[in-house]
Each structure stands twice: as structure tokens, then as C-alpha cells.
Point group: C2
Chain length 156, copies 2
DNA sequence: GTAGGGCTTCCCATCATGGGAAGGTCAAGC
DNA sequence: GCTTGACCTTCCCATGATGGGAAGCCCTAC
């Protein structure tokens, strides 16, 4: 199997397969005399594993850990489970951040007439300055709850 | 106000302020004779606007659009509203993807005993190959519904 | 006059992914 | 046997938003 065929068979692009090899996530593939990479069923299986793990949002270093456990016949399922639970928690945190943003956005959009007039509570909110140019520094929309700095790295 | 003071006043790091200036998101700041950037209340106001928009997850090009509308006294609030609604929809899509991943992860974790034994449905699922090494290609967990390719770009 | 802290620019790194160029290889068709 | 087109190789660059750090200038306080 060439890299292109392996890519088609696994859903991992040829570019990514080379990258994963380069960073050591997957072992270096065999080569033909001409230097072409060669993939067998086992390699395809591994690549599919990686692909599925990526589909669950695992970062590459976590996938490396999963692969190591996969290959370790004497693993403890607790270790695998921990990775999965951690990942779920990580995603839930991201979801919470995003939901908080959505809540704010939808609240703002709701209060904007959305017509030809220029008045817009959305811009007013974005421009709100704790007593610098015009507005009072109090609650602009009550408990909209725009998270005061939801975290610099929103989507890692 | 120097760039450091503006950074402290707006929550945008000095690095980011320079970056926003470089890409044209905010106008170039004035300079002292020695070349130091100088910021006034108006600049601070703009930076705060940018910061708040970032907090709502807007990409930089969308923030540019918001800033343009903000400065345009004859804007239609409908245009602003559209940006906000689009943004909310974008975030919702991301949330849906993440939630689908979380569902799968938690379902898998639930079915893993998580003890010292090596058997692990999580690894079995990741390793599942449509009839290649061991398992039958049928539904492994019934309707877990791992999304068949939730999209290559999970979190833009 | 000097020390320390802040400013400048420039380069590099992240993370996972894609685009593209330059050149070698293979298989099919003539 | 030769051409053609599809595929492979490596190498470099770009993304988006952010941080880190170096080398060098500037300002203020002592």
C-alpha cells in the first residue's frame, strides 16, 4: 500500500501521515527501493486508531499515550479510562466557555432591533467603558454575565 | 499613555496591541520623538472594544467588521445583529461537535471498568476496524453515535 | 553617571493542517 | 522503447492568535 492508498483507507491525509511519522506518533513506515513509503494492514489499523482519537478531540500527545496503552498488553484499563474522562472534562470546559459566549451573544442580539437604525445594544455593550466616554459603569444588561475574561486560550 | 499602560488598562497584552496595529485591526498609534507608541483615551476605548469582541469569540476579521460598524454613525443595526447572530451560530456548531465527542467519550468511559485489567472498550472502540483484525463490522455499542467524521477542522 | 525597567524591532515557537515547488518513480498506452 | 500523467519524495511556507526572548535604545530615579 502506498501512502495515498493508506490515506484513502484511513481518512488521514498523506500530509498528516508523514507528519505523524515525523513527530514519532506512528512508527516510520517501510520503504520501497525507490524510497516510497509502504503500509501494511497493521499500519492502516494504527492510523485508523489515530484518526478516531483525533475525532474525539484528543491532542497528539494524548493520542501517543493512548497508542502506548493500546500496544501494552498488560495495561490497566483504569489508565485508559482516566485519559477518556480527562478528555471529556476538557471538552466540557470548552463547551462551557462557548456556551457562555453564546448566551451573551444571543441576549445581545435579542435586544437589538436589527433594522436600518444605527442604535445597537450590541455595539453599546462592546464599547462599554467603565465610565470613560459616556456610559455609567453599572450593570449594562443586568445579569447577562459576560464572563470577565473567559480565559485567554479559548479553544486549545 | 505608553503601550504597557494601555495594555494594563485594556487587558490586551502589549504584544497583541502591536500585532493588532500591524495587521491593521486598530490604527497605528502616535509616537513620541523617541519612537514610543502613545495611547489616548480613544485608543484605549478601541482596544477595550477589541478585547470584548475577542472575549465573545469573534475572529479578528469579524472584529474589524464590528469596528467599522461602530465607527459608522449611519450603520444599520441589522448589520451588527447579523454578525452577532452568525457568531452565535458558529459557536453553536462548535458546541455541537464538542458535545458529540463528549457523549461518545462518556459513554465509552461508562462501559470501561477502569481497574487493573487490560480489557477496555475505549481502546476497542478506537481500534475498531471494519472487519480487519478481529471485530465484526457491526454496531459496536449500538447507538453511541460516534459522528462519522465530525469535520476536519474541529475548533477553528 | 549609572542602574533598572520599559520601550523598540526582529525572529522563533506553538498546534495541526494544508499548499505548493522541484524533482524522482511507476504504470499504462502508443 | 518512449511518453504521459498520476503519484511519490523532500523542503519551505502559511494559517491564527498568542507568547518568549534577544539586542539595542530611552527615560527616570538615585
Amino acid at each position: 500500500m502506498t501512502i495515498g492508498e493508506a490515506a484513502a483507507a484511513t481518512g488521514v491525509s498523506a500530509k498528516m501521515i508523514r507528519y505523524y511519522e515525523e513527530i514519532g506518533l506512528v512508527p516510520a513506515a517501510g520503504r520501497t527501493a525507490a524510497g516510497y513509503r509502504v503500509y501494511g494492514p497493521h499500519d492502516v489499523h494504527t492510523l485508523r486508531f489515530v484518526r478516531r482519537a483525533r475525532d474525539l478531540g484528543f491532542a497528539v500527545d494524548r493520542i501517543a499515550a493512548l497508542l502506548a496503552l493500546w500496544r501494552d498488553r498488560s495495561r490497566a484499563s483504569a489508565d485508559v479510562r482516566r485519559l477518556a474522562v480527562d478528555q471529556a472534562a476538557l471538552l466540557r470546559r470548552r463547551i462551557d466557555e462557548l456556551q457562555s459566549m453564546v448566551r451573551t451573544l444571543e441576549h445581545l442580539a435579542e435586544h437589538c432591533h436589527g433594522d436600518a437604525r444605527p442604535d445597537c445594544p450590541i455595539l453599546d455593550d462592546l464599547a462599554a467603558t467603565a465610565g470613560e466616554c459616556h456610559a455609567a459603569p453599572d450593570a449594562r444588561f443586568g445579569s447577562t454575565g459576560r464572563p470577565h475574561r473567559p480565559s485567554p486560550k479559548e479553544m486549545p
